[in-house]
């Protein structure tokens, strides 16, 4: 039953952290108090995208986009806007970006140029209500394949679409499906890889939370195509909301005969079980993920045999990423040709990115493949905050690389990113400015991969800590002249000799920063200088006597009593021998009198 006003409140992870649930409760309370319960519908949706501005809320039919709403604003919104029809100006987001999002949401779905394909429903429907999903053409694709298409035709359609795995490696999805469909065996499995372990990536989380049925439908279609009767969704334990919504969604789908025995009375049966990860990055690797679902330590094993032939519980298994499954229903409904009309020849379709770091608009975006990095970071992301200079963009997480400014016009697709020494990865895009040190960043990723190495094969277990040791030495200013050559040698060995993707790709952040920012490494080694002033061993803190007013705040805040001076009698002085370079004084100084200088 349509209502006079629809209120969509974002229930994505970032907005929930900014207490969008309290905003929703307050709005509902005010609606009831004003007797508008029959006229206004309040829906908690999945992520709308502009996480930085949360909690966000959109009101239809006028499409007013409210940002940073607090529970105290509820009464004003209800009285002024819902009752009197006057949107609350002070909370409106009135920028071109806002207008774009609003206009996009008014469009009819499946518009030729529209960018939101996988995220079409995210932020628009209530993810906990299966009927809203069905109203948005949900489960129509499943109905179509079960009644009009043979399993072979489904595999062929997916193959023809050119869809490639959205988990990062970009393997053709249709080919993978065919391997599993052709594999002998009566029991087969479909597994959804929702172990989004890359730091800086939250695409899968947003899709699972915002449109869980799309993933379930994609998996069910895949199961029909490859002949599987059981499925597993493996989700990180760090994503409790995604787990909750998936539970609600699978239960609802079962209740409507869209999952379980005899789906849509066609005789086809398929059911899905949820499995929680337990915090191990390596479990994103498919054979490690399989071991984890089996209840074992998540250690990868050599391939072949590939999971398509011998996977979960030794049976043929299809493993695809969350976003890959999210594409399936759209391809079935609109056809392979339509899908190919978006994106590039070799990488058709769209890609969802999680944009974060030093960029003005952080959040979730979906763009056609082939969009340039510049468009993504400066066009959609709004550029770098605080007037700082762009330095690099990191894609692909711990397996990826850093791309410098001169390659910003590179179109985003699997091959071109790889040619730059980065990878597409699952879609985390982290922007860095002049204040970020590339040596420090490489060290950060190696710390990560070295500690997440499962310890099974020697190149990864021993090689990564050896590389890390060199990087730590360089950060301390104790780098040796041949350290960079040594790093490259080690990197090559680890790449070539490691058993699984974790080790094979772990050197990428080091190699790509060496490739584009070698002079920064050299400065650390030769001059003992960190130009970004990040490596604490290479900097010193200094109080500018001209700017110091003798307020005594720094002296009181210093945890090691390294600052001396008399109140009212500037300047204060830092004892460099005692200073631990924690930066506390600089934070508390009201006159910006404390500067970070090169140590030498």
């Amino acid at each position: 039953m349509p209502k006079r006003i629809d209120v969509l409140i974002c229930g994505g992870a970032a907005c929930l952290s900014s207490h969008s649930d309290e905003v929703r409760a307050a709005i509902v309370r005010e609606i009831e108090a004003h007797g508008l319960g029959k006229e206004v519908r309040v829906v908690e949706t999945g992520c709308m995208g502009p996480c930085e501005l949360g909690p966000v809320m959109v009101v239809y039919p006028d499409g007013a986009f409210y940002i940073r709403v607090s529970p105290q604003d509820a009464r004003e919104i209800v009285e002024e806007h819902f009752l009197k029809g006057r949107p609350v100006q002070r909370l409106l987001w009135e920028t071109p970006e806002a207008r774009r999002i609003i206009e996009e949401r008014k469009q009819v779905p499946f518009f030729a140029k529209q960018k939101k394909v996988v995220l079409a429903n995210c932020g628009l429907i209530d993810p906990e209500n299966i009927e809203e999903y069905i109203a948005a053409d949900g489960y129509t694709a499943l109905g179509k394949v079960l009644t009009e298409m043979s399993p072979q035709e489904v595999v062929e359609e997916i193959a023809a679409s050119g869809l490639r795995g959205r988990g990062g490696a970009g393997f053709p999805t249709g080919r993978k499906w065919k391997f599993v469909a052709d594999a002998p065996g009566s029991v087969k499995y479909v597994v959804c890889n929702g172990d989004e372990g890359d730091p800086g990536a939250f695409m899968d989380r947003s899709l699972l939370e915002g449109d869980p049925h799309a993933v379930i439908e994609g998996m069910t279609i895949a199961a029909y195509a490859v002949g599987a009767s059981r499925g597993y969704i493996y989700v990180r334990a760090e994503y409790p909301l995604a787990i909750k919504r998936l539970k609600i969604a699978t239960t609802a789908a079962r209740g409507m005969g869209l999952l379980g025995e005899d789906i849509l009375e066609t005789g086809f049966s398929f059911d899905i079980e949820l499995r929680m990860g337990a915090g191990a990055f390596v479990c994103g690797e498919e054979t490690a993920l399989i071991a984890s679902i089996e209840g074992k330590r998540g250690q990868p094993r050599p391939r072949p045999p590939y999971p398509a032939v011998q996977g979960l519980f030794e049976r043929p298994t299809l493993i695809n990423n969350v976003e890959t499954f999210g594409n399936i229903r759209h391809i079935i409904l609109n056809g392979a040709d339509w899908f190919r009309s978006i994106g590039t020849e070799a990488s058709p379709g769209t890609k969802v990115f999680a944009l974060s770091g030093k960029v003005i608009n952080t959040g979730l975006v979906e763009v056609p493949m082939g969009t340039t990095l510049r468009e993504l970071i400066f066009g959609i992301g709004g550029g770098i905050p605080d007037g700082k200079e762009f330095k690099a963009v990191q894609t692909g997480g711990p397996s990826g690389g850093c791309i410098p400014a001169e390659h910003l016009d590179t179109p985003i697709d699997y091959e071109s990113l790889q040619a730059l020494g980065a990878i597409m990865g699952s879609g985390g895009v982290i922007v860095m400015d002049e204040d970020n040190c590339m040596v420090n960043l490489a060290r950060f990723f190696l710390e990560f991969t070295a500690s997440e190495s499962c310890g099974q094969c020697v190149p990864c277990r021993v090689g990564l800590p050896a590389m890390l040791e060199i990087l730590e030495r360089i950060s301390r200013g104790a780098g040796r002249p041949d350290d960079l050559d040594r790093l490259e040698q080690l990197a090559e060995t680890v790449q070539r000799a490691s058993l699984c993707g974790l080790g094979q790709t772990a050197p990428n952040p080091v190699l790509s920063t060496l490739r584009y920012f070698r002079e920064e490494y050299e400065e650390h080694i030769r001059e003992g200088r960190c130009r970004a002033k990040v490596c604490t061993a290479l900097v010193r803190y200094w109080i500018d006597p001209e700017a110091c007013r003798g307020c005594d705040q720094c002296r009181r805040a210093c945890p090691v009593e390294a600052i001396s001076g008399t109140p009212g009698k500037p300047p204060y002085v830092i004892d460099e021998g005692m200073c631990v370079r924690c930066g506390t004084c600089r934070e508390v100084c009201p006159f910006s009198a404390i500067e970070i200088l090169d140590r030498r």
Partner: protein, 159 residues
């Protein structure tokens, strides 16, 4: 179950859950999640109990518990502070957040305050990168952290 465990309602609860999970394929990790939910952590006697009930070697259970970051073998403080050390938080100064928490609480990563109120741990990414730098206290996410905000948030949990 030995005599002590029969009297312990937590073990009775765990036994009931294991009964439910015994029929699924590869139940160990699911059971350990539930066990940690009941006990707050996984002490040796719980490992032994799970091994016996599921008829899995104790070495296998211990191997799984120690492999995954999510499983804890030590009791936790009343509130668990998880500082996100993901990439977005890193480039926005997560190491400062750790430093400030160390100053405020007097403990480092992996430690618990003497009064048992806070345990400080690190996570890789909580997927709230738009709000970086962030920390989680229990199930609550706090973003856009600076010294002032951290102090304010900690004060709420000290009451």
């Amino acid at each position: 179950m030995d005599a002590v465990q029969i009297d312990n309602p937590k073990f009775r609860e765990l036994e009931r859950i294991i009964g439910k999970y015994r029929t699924i394929d590869g139940p160990l990790i699911e059971v350990l999640h539930k066990a940690q939910g009941i006990f707050g952590y996984i002490p040796p006697e719980v490992e032994r109990f799970v091994a016996k009930e599921l008829k899995i070697p104790l070495s296998t259970v211990h191997g799984v518990v120690t492999f995954y970051n999510f499983f804890r073998t030590q009791p936790q403080g009343k509130h668990v502070i998880n500082v996100c050390l993901g990439t977005a938080c890193h480039v926005k100064g997560a190491s400062r957040v750790v430093e400030i928490l160390r100053e405020e609480l007097g403990i480092g990563i992996g430690e618990t305050t003497k009064d048992g109120r806070f345990t400080l741990t690190a996570v890789r990414c909580v997927g709230a990168c738009g709000l970086a730098p962030v920390m989680m206290i229990d199930d609550e996410v706090y973003g856009r952290l600076d010294r002032e905000k951290i102090k304010k948030v900690l004060a709420e949990y000290r009451e």
